[in-house]
């Protein structure tokens, strides 16, 4: 497939998500996009790693309920942006002898940089993850936090709001300035970012 497909690089859904035709999304039925989200080419989103409905261990006492609600692996909020080659995979852990995957929640106005690997439990709103960064399993990044390029957020780390983390392993290296995330200012360019995607 040529890099510039004639039909346009992006598919636009009813809710305004712009999804590259070359994105590598697995298990779409377990992914919820909030709308106006951009997913660029070669981004891998592992919706197939969802939490299995209660396995055989709970069978004898209460039979598993018919799962009419599909378990969600990945939720992404509005105006979030998943760059090229980023990997989103739900975290997994062993709990009471059962290894299961847990949902990965991504808030609104989140930016995920190129080739970043996100295995976090949650990314809050207005979070910025730099290119080549790794967010380890079950980490929690709170609102308005910034993960610098190439940072390695270790598994289970909780990054507080308004903090800048960087380095390997990531440490808190500063705070974001006053007015970060205000619409149109630094950290508040998500709408603009969304608007320019897919423009000829």
């Amino acid at each position: 497939m040529p890099p510039k497909a004639a039909k346009g690089e992006y598919i636009e859904t009813d809710t305004g998500n712009k999804i590259s035709r070359r994105s590598q999304i697995h298990g779409t039925q377990h992914i919820i996009l909030g709308g106006k989200t951009v997913i660029q080419a070669e981004a891998v989103i592992r919706g197939d790693l969802y939490r299995l409905p209660s396995t055989a261990s709970t069978d004898p006492s209460n039979p598993p309920q018919p799962s009419n609600a599909p378990s969600v692996a990945i939720t992404v909020g509005r105006y979030s942006y998943i760059s090229k080659s980023a990997v989103l995979r739900p975290p997994s852990r062993l709990h009471r002898g059962v290894h299961s995957f847990y949902p990965l929640k991504i808030g609104d106005h989140v930016f995920v940089g190129e080739s970043a690997v996100i295995e976090a439990a949650s990314l809050g709103n207005h979070v910025h993850v730099g290119a080549g960064a790794t967010v380890g399993s079950m980490a929690i990044i709170k609102d308005f936090a910034v993960v610098l390029d190439g940072a390695v957020v270790p598994p289970g780390m909780v990054v507080p709001s308004w903090c800048v983390v960087g380095g390997r392993p990531a440490r808190i290296v500063g705070e974001v300035g006053e007015g970060y995330g205000v619409e149109g200012a630094e950290g508040g360019m998500a709408r603009e970012r969304y608007r320019v995607v897919g423009r000829p």
Partner: protein
Amino acid sequence: MATLKPPPASHRSSSSSHTPTGPPKAPLKVDPSATIADTAVFQGTYPVTVGAGTVIHPRARFYAFEGPIFVGDGCIISEKAIIGAAPGTSASTRPSPSSSTGPSPTSSSTDVTLSTPQIQGQGQGQETATRISYFVTIGPHSTVLPGANVHSSATIESLVTINRYADVGAHSKICSGCQVPVNGSVPEWTVVFGSGVGQRRKRARIAREPAPAVMVAAQVAQLPVPPPAPEGKIIEDARLMVLQKEREVLGRMIVPAGAGKKK
């Protein structure tokens, strides 16, 4: 809120390996208990061997152009991991649409060091085997170049580059973003972390006395105090048990290859 609809089948198989004009598909020798995702890519002229219980995530790529690739039992190869190198110098020079993930340091280092006959002799008799031993975990976006030898129970996290002829010892861990240099060697039970080549430290393996609570409990119960346990060993055993569980779960979740097309 809207749920994405499944993409059309043609969209999924955009990788060049599925087109008839694409590069040769590597001969696969897979244990029946291995789980290989349908979107994993195997290219090359040399065989790729995959051991029992190994899980290969979607979008992992194997390039057996310079020599055979051996993957032992019980490994997990994550998405976008690259084992081997595409023809040419490195994956990043490849004109395929899904190729730009190779970190640029890889290409530069391979260009410099590939003057050895093993590399130029690609397809000329010389071959460089890539070996991944038992119970190895390879994270997303990591690259294992030809000639590398990853020993058993090693963990390679995401965005790691294991350069050519490097040797990663058993039970070692290469943390995210690190590199093992060409011909580099990581001893067993070592953690490599930090930037670039990174810092190293030994994993704790000291024999620890039982915890005070255990001593007290033993006295109360009038049982012999348990012998000191090698702590690192126990943790490592537990980790490997968790890994086993993870493989079992993944084996059920990953869409296996061969549902529609046979390898």
